[in-house]
């Protein structure tokens, strides 16, 4: 069962931004003048093209339905909104903390659109009690949709659970869900 939550606070980003930093922003330990002369003076950085795109983070949660979760693999696609994967984070549960973010299939482009295959495994020699058995965040995927995202018509996100296993390597049932978060520009 896929639970979809869309939090859209901005539509059609890439609004030209005034040059210079925010003067109200807290200064660091001491104030140093930013060196010249690399700033072109425009609101956009050099090379930036104004397009109707949307940056977002897809947060993926797995529910192992009460069984200790030892490993999983899933595939992420979007059938109606082409997106590009820009980075992958782990979910932060200590059982899956290898000191580095999870690896994913680097061949993400398929038929003109990205798809992501990600697999993870728990640290070795963990007891079942140390593994999550409740819904747990397992990945945050930064993406760029090649279109504006309308809050009333969120893009469909397909999550396919390839497999999930418990601490003994036995296959278990699990459900995947996700939320889509679009970053909010600070006031």
């Amino acid at each position: 069962m896929i639970k979809l939550f869309l939090a859209i606070t901005m539509v059609g980003l890439l609004i030209p931004i005034a040059p210079g930093g925010n003067p109200e922003h807290a200064a660091p330990k001491r104030s140093i003048t930013v060196p010249k002369p690399d700033d072109p003076g425009s609101g956009l950085p050099p090379g930036a093209i104004q397009t109707q795109t949307t940056f977002a983070t897809i947060k993926i949660t797995i529910d192992p339905l009460g069984k200790p979760l030892g490993a999983y693999q899933f595939q992420l696609t979007s059938p109606d909104a082409s997106f590009k994967v820009l980075g992958v984070e782990g979910g932060g549960h200590p059982a899956f903390d290898h000191g580095r973010p999870p690896y994913f299939d680097p061949v993400v482009r398929e038929a003109g659109a990205d798809r992501l295959i990600l697999a993870e495994y728990a640290l070795p020699r963990l007891d079942a009690e140390q593994l999550p058995s409740e819904p747990v965040l397992i990945a945050r995927v930064a993406v760029l949709f090649d279109q504006p995202i309308d809050a009333d018509e969120p893009p469909a996100i397909n999550l396919l659970l390839t497999t999930a296993g418990d601490a003994d390597g036995n296959k278990i049932q699990a459900n995947l869900s996700h939320t889509l978060q679009i970053p909010e520009r600070p006031e």
Binding site: L13, L14, I17, P19, G20, G21, N22, H25, A26, P28, K29, R30, S31, I32, T33, V34, P35, P37, D38, G43, L44, P45, P46, G47, A48, I49, T53, F55, T57, A71, Q73, K84, L86, G87, V88, E89, H98, P101, Y103, F104, D105, P106, V107, R109, I117, A119, E120, Y121, A122, P124, A142, V143, L144, T162, T163, G165, A167, G169, P183, P186
Partner: protein, 724 residues
Amino acid sequence: MKIKKQTPLLLMLALLVGVSGWLQGCANEAREYAKRPSALSPQYDKSDSATGHVQELADVRAENRQLTQGQKLLALANPDDDIWVIIKPPKQDDPPQAANEDDQPGAGALVAIVPPTQGDPEAEPTLVPMPLKHTDVKASVAGYIATVDVEQQYHNPYAEKIEAVYRFPLPQDAAVSEFVMEVGPEDGRRQIRGIIREKEEAERIYNEARAHGLNASLLSQVRPNIFEQKVANIEPGKQIDIQVRYFNTLSYSDGWYAFTFPMVVGPRFNPPNSDSPVHAVGRGTNPRGTGTTISYLRPNERSGHDIALTLDIDAGVSIEEARCLTHTVSADNPGGNPNQLRVQLANHDTIPNKDFVFTFRVAGERMKSGLVTHVDEEGRGYFTLMMYPPADLKQLDRQPMEMVFVLDCSGSMSGEPMQQSKDAMRQALKRLRPADTFQVIRFSSNASTFGPEPVPATPENIREAVRYIDGLSGQGGTMMIEGVKAALDFPHDPDRYRVVTFLTDGYIGNEKQILHEMDRRIGAARVFSFGVGSSTNRYLLERMAKLGRGAAAYLLPGNDGGEVMDLYFDRISHPAMTDIEISWGAAEVAQVYPSRTPDLIVGRPVILTGRFSGELSDIRVTGRAGGERVSLSIGTDETAHHPALGQVWARRKIADMMDRMAMDGDHELRPTVLATALEYNLVSAYTSFLAVDASRVTQGSHGTTVHQALPVPDGVRYDTTVDE
């Protein structure tokens, strides 16, 4: 759906078919994939037989007593605790111990005291805040393959948001295959694994993310050995870390394996009309219009950027001797294992202004097997073979030589590099025989020669040449193309073996043009290149030697030029093994790189890497040397394994194709290079790593771009190499 290369993914498939005990195997294999140093030890099929470690250490200590001061090596062995300390005597320009002390509360590590010898000794140090505050290098060597993790810590010391841009060197054969951006830790440490994308697309997305105010980072290749890191929207007082992992092979020369980590890009000279120049400008100077601009700190300036480096070596056989001539390091062998060594950069030698070069020699002159293999989860086999020259070559004498020395007399060579080069050339002239001829060519803004044509190596001519060499000095530009033309354009004496020896730091921006012209003119000449200085352009020097079927060597600061030249003459005093053919036994072997097998020279093995299926055994190499047929067999009974060989192979394949594109203008190879880089997750001329944190928009606009200013390399004068 096709799953590639990700061990965990395959293991998940194993789960689907109900493989018992899968989970532990998953963890084990995934740990191997994660390439933790401890997981990368070579797995030899035979047990190691090295013994007598304490005695070896004592030998090292005894030998070190005999070393000259110039060699700067002292190993202290304590048989009780197995600790070595390799000490480089401090030079006057070594920073004082207190160099990194803050003199302003809360200033962080971004402020340092300028070492007095970098400018006016009486001048007050100038403190220059810069975004890159620290680089942490953790390298592990298994067999002769290095896995190197580099972490760059960017911090914003300014009152406004910035984009940091840093151009830095990596080994020219580095297979850069992992990229992680870490934001925080004030928001909680969050690590984002980046993705490889086509270069133009990655740049476009990065610029969009920057314009949105997102934290983003982009790693691109500027040259095969120069990379550019951009980090967008670093807020005041905040830090973003970039973690890069690469693999490469060690070099081997005359019994010594060498691990090299370059630390700074040297300032380049760009001849007029260079198509992709690398400009050297003073900090705060406007970037030049075309090409790449690198900013340098002025002589009385220093940023707080420092470096830490740890190197773990597992040679598979006993390490008999080790040296670091470039830095002060400490070394010990963990657990008393004589095959292993842990090396750490000393706390007071952390200014990244020269290459780190660590060399070691093992029992029996070489590692057990030069053959390393890996079969990936899709059944694709990869191998890397370090092919050593046959011992027979040392019994064969050389034919008369036509020796051409080409000396770089540009401004960047002034000082110690020029003196070392002169010492080396004087020594080389002494080693010539009466039947040989020689020529000396100097180049800077133009080229001139000792004589109108090569002269016989008579005592009188040699004395005259020494006087000519004594009068040379370093000043002016680096029109290396003139040196190349002068060295290769005159008629070849068919009765003599022509050897062209370049002595240069390689600080030029038109490498492609140089290599192209060399390729056109080289004929039967052999080219040997000597990199002279603390941070030479190793990409150029290695490629010149490869084109010229010779070898590259390096004269580091403190090296005795005469001694290095003696080794060189020992090498060229025997014929090379040419016309090499390799029989791979029962295995099917394909896509071997370099695609043209180089000649084998005494003291210098050749590294080949390729794909295979079947069993690699009974490898036999045949060729010709001095008119005789010679052959050798490659032992395969002690084959080692390494999980990163696919990426090492892919990087070599890309380098080979890029060479062909540069030489032949064959741009049809571009799609193949791109596909290979994307498939193997590698940075290349056409692919870049990108990472974006799309969870949060930072305060303010995209901020100002700050180029990380670099120190000029140790021993290089700012005033003769950097534009103001």
